[in-house]
């Protein structure tokens, strides 16, 4: 299989796509862009028969991946099921990083509850898991613990400020796109681009 070129500043974002997670979703976008990364997500990929191939391609092109395994509950809609997409995509990322010497691709696991992952996914025993406690600040703090920049390391305050501005812009973006959810492809792209524009405050003080 030909290997797609890796974009070192792209970060694959593997999170639940639901309203209850929206604040943390915005926190991930704000935090990652503050570190100079470009969030990418399966939201960008249209449905269809080649969806799995395209998800795997996207994972392959990203220098980093962040996997939030905090949604272990069953959803509310019938039939009530847990979501397996997140652990599945983590598996794809880990397999890719371990195959053929592609260990330059870095993956991180995040959870809301400390040590819960030892029960939900015990195969990860011995892996550092970053706990965010389902809090915006927790996500930003977890990203600060996982990442370091030699130049222009963002502070927690800068990331919170970026997050708040992004949050404030959501109604305008939804209105412009005629969308009802932030988890739509066009809205996601707008949020990433806006966060990158806002992060100029961090990268060019």
């Amino acid at each position: 299989m030909p290997r797609p070129a890796v974009e070192k500043t792209s970060a694959f974002l593997n999170i639940p796509y639901d309203k209850q997670f929206e604040n943390l979703y915005l926190a991930y976008i704000a935090g990652l862009t503050a570190f100079g990364l470009v969030p990418r997500a399966t939201l960008e990929i249209p449905g269809g028969s080649r969806r799995l191939d395209r998800i795997f391609e996207l994972i392959q092109t990203c220098g980093f991946s962040f996997h939030d395994l905090s949604r272990v509950q069953r959803d509310r809609s019938t039939p009530k099921t847990p979501r397996f997409n997140m652990p599945f995509e983590l598996g794809l990322a880990v397999a890719w990083s371990k195959s053929g010497g592609r260990n330059d691709q870095v993956w991180f696991v995040l959870e809301a509850v400390d040590r819960r992952i030892l029960k939900s996914l015990s195969d990860l025993n011995g892996t550092d898991v970053y706990v965010h406690g389902s809090q915006v600040k927790g996500v930003l703090r977890a990203l600060s613990n996982a990442l370091v920049r030699n130049v222009n390391q963002p502070t927690l305050q800068q990331m919170m400020s970026l997050y708040r501005k992004l949050r404030r812009a959501v109604p305008s973006i939804l209105n412009n796109r005629g969308a009802s959810s932030t988890f739509e492809a066009r809205v996601f792209k707008d949020l990433v681009q806006l966060a990158a524009s806002l992060s100029k405050d961090v990268s060019e003080p």
């Binding site: 100079g36 996982a146 501005k165 404030r168 792209k189």
Partner: protein, 67 residues
Amino acid sequence: MTAAITTPFPTLEEVADRIGLSRKRAKQLAALASELTGKQVTIYTDAKKGAKRSRQSALKKVAFKKK
């Protein structure tokens, strides 16, 4: 585990190209960012101009480091 990021911040033009967003929309979002921050955020709608600016910026940074 902590990962070090050594690559520079991507330019706004690079971000737009990577996620498949039009330059026109990227410019609108830069204007929105300017409103939110009170600071001017610019983006080049001409791809060549943006690339040139990016190269010049990189060269300036190298020149500055050499001093």
